[in-house]
């Protein structure tokens, strides 16, 4: 297991390095003098001079990258020009909101996706299977920002049951927090539920045709126990990895969902930064996201290796 861990960690280091080069390289896409562009519309000469100095713009790309990477490794992701705050502080402020949204979304996705996948596999070829597949296709094809607008139309404008936008901290008012989060979390969980449903169905179909399930049935184990205790427990192993892979979908979805429901989270941070031409924030957020994604994948692989010893040997 130790050898597997060392091997796996060794592979993520170059990936992280290349990701950081690519993200830093985004600056090269800016047209013209980066200092002028980064300084915003005011073009304050003091800001421009400060940028030239702090970003080492008079130095070649590799040198600038080295200085930037050195800062990143010390936890310095740069400073927001617009908000005059370190990018690290901004991320730390906004991340909990998005994490709460993501956690509720994952719970909703699991509650819909796994039972739907199981029913679809167990009742293969029936109306249940057909219905679950239709729901999955619906989930994969609906733009989440449109679904959000339609839910606002139904639950906020027409029925007046839920707030259309805004955010209340759970520490201030848990009830108001859940009322504000349920629609965006459903929107975010919807697409992931579809992916989970498809994966659960295919994993269940594979497990249901295996010898040990046939043996369990031959022994006279109740069908309910065969499905829940023998089949689902094993089918869930590959779904652990899927959870980590869907992290990217969650963050991408959060960008749009937070925009629709005006939630002051991580997604709104990047969109506001884009419009404020706050490029250090854009770079910092993308780097943080990529690093989190790579590390989550590593955790998922380790969990998978713990659950499935064959992985460690191969």
């Amino acid at each position: 297991m130790t050898a597997y861990l060392i091997r796996r960690i060794a592979t993520i280091l170059p990936t992280l390095l290349f990701a950081s080069i690519l993200i830093f390289g985004l600056q090269q896409l800016l047209p013209g003098d980066p200092a002028m562009v980064l300084a915003g519309e005011e073009r304050d000469p003091t800001v421009i001079a400060h940028l030239r100095e702090t970003l080492h713009l008079d130095k070649p790309f590799p040198v600038r990258y080295f200085y930037w990477l050195r800062g990143v490794l010390r936890g310095d992701l740069g400073e927001s020009l617009r908000m005059q705050q370190p990018v690290r502080t901004l991320i730390a402020e906004k991340l909990p909101v998005t994490l709460e949204l993501a956690c509720i979304a994952i719970v909703i996705a699991l509650a819909i996706g796994i039972p739907a996948g199981v029913v679809s596999a167990v009742r293969r070829g029936t109306a249940w299977d057909y219905g679950a597949n239709v729901v999955a296709l619906w989930g994969l094809s609906t733009p989440n920002f449109w679904l959000g607008i339609m839910l606002i139309l139904l639950f906020s404008v027409t029925l007046g049951l839920l707030p259309a936008s805004g955010y209340v901290s759970p520490f201030e008012d848990l009830r108001a927090n859940l009322a504000a989060m349920i629609m965006p979390a459903f929107v975010l969980g919807n697409a992931i539920a579809a992916v989970l449903m498809r994966h659960t169905r295919s994993a269940m179909l594979q497990v249901l045709s295996s010898d040990y399930v046939r043996t369990a049935r031959a022994k006279g184990v109740r069908e309910r126990d065969v499905i829940l205790k023998h089949a689902l427990r094993n089918a869930l192993i590959p779904i652990i990895t899927l959870g980590a892979l869907e992290f990217g979908t969650l963050l991408s979805g959060a960008v749009l969902t937070e925009q629709v429901f005006t939630i002051p989270g991580f997604g709104k941070l990047i969109v506001d930064a884009v419009f404020n031409r706050d490029y250090a924030v854009v770079q910092g957020v993308v780097l943080f996201t990529a690093t989190a994604y790579i590390l989550l994948n590593l955790v998922a692989d380790i969990l998978y290796a713990v659950a499935n010893p064959r992985m460690r040997i191969s």
Partner: protein, 294 residues
């Protein structure tokens, strides 16, 4: 977007391949795929003939008809400055289809040769390309597209480039994987034995045999690119006003949802139908081209 379709086994020299019906016929035999294809053809027709089909100029304002509900004069109603929603939905199909197809062509143009090189050359070249691909895949698709669009500047063309670049690693990985599988096939060994150059083997022998999985992935990628373009336009990073795009129409519509819901319904339905159709055709193609799925 990061989902890579399974590579089907190489069937070029398989005798069964000749006895199977033509892939297009197999695709059309699936009702869902046939319906999807019909809807795509309908949208393409609408996009091509938009100037003849749209009842009004999509950017002409009419302050005497602001936020009018659907009526005989305006089937889908009007927007916040009196523009005809139906005409804007019809012209919006152009931006979505253009972005969907062109961005995937960019991904294919970059991803396929790079994947072929990685898979065929192997060694250090493969290692370098694979690490760069992993690095790109580590950035969530839409977040990378937003960052690229932000640095390139907001426009439909830049949105297409951003989506194309963000979708490229999936094609590199798929092409590399299928090339590695094809490399050990007898027909490639035979081509090498008779003295063909590596470039000729890669282009003339390997490439034609990895087309089926690429075609499936490209179809599904168009669906993702249509949503991505709508998302970027929704955020203001794609098609710029006053030109119509389904995403930017929804961005405006969300501000008037309490008194002009029709502004939000039709652009959303259009995105949904187009994306659903590409997904249905993609699923159908996978089943039709991959013997394991049939």
């Amino acid at each position: 977007m990061a989902t890579v379709v399974d590579a089907p086994p190489i069937v070029a020299s398989d005798a069964r391949a000749s006895s199977r019906p033509h892939p297009l016929r197999r695709l059309l035999r699936r009702p869902s795929a046939a319906i999807g294809l019909a809807v795509i053809v309908a949208f393409v027709t609408i996009a091509i003939f938009a100037p003849f089909l749209a009842p009004y100029d999509p950017i002409a304002t009419n302050f005497g008809a602001v936020r009018k509900a659907p009526s005989a004069a305006h089937w889908f109603g009007t927007d916040e400055i009196g523009r005809d929603v139906l005409s804007r939905v019809i012209f919006g199909a152009r931006a979505s289809l253009e972005a969907g197809v062109l961005s995937v062509l960019i991904s294919l143009a970059v991803g396929v040769p790079t994947g072929l090189l990685a898979g065929y050359a192997g060694g250090k070249v493969d290692m370098l390309i694979s690490r760069v691909t992993d690095a790109l895949l580590a950035c969530p698709f839409l977040i990378l597209a937003i960052a690229l669009a932000a640095f390139l500047g907001p426009s439909l063309a830049n949105a297409m480039i951003a989506i194309g670049i963000s979708a490229t690693p999936v094609f590199i990985r798929l092409t590399r994987g299928t090339t590695l599988a094809a490399k050990s096939e007898d027909y490639v060994l035979a081509a090498r034995a008779i003295g063909n150059s590596p470039l000729r083997i890669a282009v003339r022998h390997v490439l034609p045999n990895i087309v089926p999985p690429l075609l499936v992935q490209a179809t599904l990628a168009i669906a993702a690119a249509v949503i991505a373009e709508a998302s970027l336009s929704f955020l203001g990073l794609g098609q710029q006003p006053p030109q119509p795009s389904w995403g930017s129409m929804l961005n405006t519509a969300k501000n008037y949802i309490d008194n002009a819901a029709w502004m939000a319904i039709w652009p959303g339905v259009s995105i949904f139908l187009l994306v659903l159709s590409f997904n249905l055709v993609g699923d159908g193609l996978r089943d039709a081209l991959d013997p394991r799925h049939s």
